[in-house]
């Protein structure tokens, strides 16, 4: 019995002495930690998407607290997070330009046709390797849902064979943009309601044969736009969002309805 007590007390006393030694050392070698880093990190989402320009949410919190990085860089967080960070740092946050993902293809099953019957692995990445997929248009959305799988915010879904974005849920983290093997998902400012919902760079007659709602490069929209915001990239119309005023003239004049108004 006495042996057990001796053993326990020897170990116990050693432990206490070492513990006291370590706590003294902790005070001597204390490292300055800025509390604001932890506070800012709590406000961030933790998605580590990199849209702010820093490698991770931890890095962004450090950059804001210690290097005076701008407080409105988190696109995923939006204005709520920007204001919260502004409060912590004691500065006023500028407006965060809200961005959303958009799928630039409107080729639902009823308006497109297939080149062949695809019975391989049902992912966009696999299907896109075989002659750009089963659709006649080589720029088409294949609707196998690689983007849906990768979205953390439930903001993208497949309807009628193509992917569509629920702009209310979209946090613009960019994961679907990176995942799409056809590279037809882009990030556009939420305030801009007009979009050319086609990615086809093929000539007019070819596009018309593949899909009845594709952009045929007729340039009627370019001529009609009052702010000169539309340019042609080959046979595809591209809207310059710095100049677009959401007037919707291009929507009315497009013969194939390739430009739409996002309500």
């Amino acid at each position: 019995m006495i042996d057990i007590i001796i053993a326990a007390s020897v170990l116990g006393i050693m432990g206490i002495i070492f513990g006291i030694g370590l706590s003294i050392a902790a005070k001597v070698f204390a490292v300055e930690v800025d509390e604001r880093v932890a506070e800012i990190r709590k406000v961030l989402s933790g998605a580590n998407c990199g849209m702010c320009g820093c490698v991770s949410c931890d890095a962004y919190a450090e950059a804001v607290a210690l290097k005076k990085f701008k407080v409105n860089a988190c696109v995923v967080g939006g204005n709520i997070v920007a204001n919260a960070i502004g409060n912590i740092m004691g500065v006023k946050a500028d407006e965060v330009k809200e961005v959303t993902a958009r799928v630039l293809c409107n080729g639902v099953c009823s308006v497109t046709n297939d080149k062949f019957l695809y019975s391989g692995v049902k992912t966009c990445l696999a299907e896109a390797q075989i002659y750009n997929g089963r659709k006649s248009c080589s720029y088409a959305c294949l609707g196998n849902g690689d983007c849906v799988k990768v979205c953390d915010f439930d903001a993208i879904y497949i309807k009628d064979g193509i992917a569509m974005v629920n702009e209310k849920n979209c946090r613009a983290c960019g994961k679907c943009v990176a995942t799409c093997p056809k590279k037809i998902i882009v990030l556009e400012p939420k305030d801009n309601k007009v979009t050319v919902i086609c990615s086809s760079k093929d000539k007019g007659p070819i596009t018309k044969k593949n899909c009845s709602v594709g952009c045929i490069g007729c340039t009627l929209c370019v001529k009609k736009c009052p702010s000169n915001a539309i340019n042609m990239d080959g046979h595809l119309a591209i809207i310059d969002y710095e100049k677009c005023t959401n007037c919707g003239e291009c929507v009315t004049v497009c013969p194939t309805k390739a430009i739409v108004f996002y309500a």
Partner: protein, 193 residues
Amino acid sequence: MINVIITSFLSAVLIENFVLVRFLGICPFLGVSKKIDTALGMGVAVIFVMAIASAVTWMLQEYILKFFHLEYLQTIGFILVIATLVQLVEMVLQKTSKSLYKALGVYLPLITTNCAILGACLINIQKGFDLINSLLYGIFAGVGFTLALVLFAGIRERLENAEVPEFLKGFPISLISASLVSLAFFGFQGLVK
């Protein structure tokens, strides 16, 4: 006296190299040896811990454990000392060299559970060294550990640019190279009687 020190040095660094011949401390050996600077930093930390741990555990064994007839508490007592020392090293490193601290990452507290340190302490007791010899053997064992790590880091840095078959890239080729280096070190056997 000089003879004993040289024998101790050769034995700890070459003949019975802790990593390559005794196979202790493989975890940091494979984990920290990607770059020579981190390997060197880790090695220095280990030398420091091994030296002080050897001395303190020797004194613990001699003056407390033997006195109370508690030799069976050797393992847990030694681990207590080693854990405290490693925590101390961690605190000092965090204050003095933040970049090394970040580079070593989780491998720094891993020195605690690393069998190399405990191995050095137990071998000291096994070989029946006195305090000075224990301390010296601990330092030399750390040097041997550092040697193995830096050597392997050099090899690994060169492996990055070598043409390695796809299925061997990364850990497989590292392990194979490690075994070859270890084989080479076995060549030192029998150098000292």
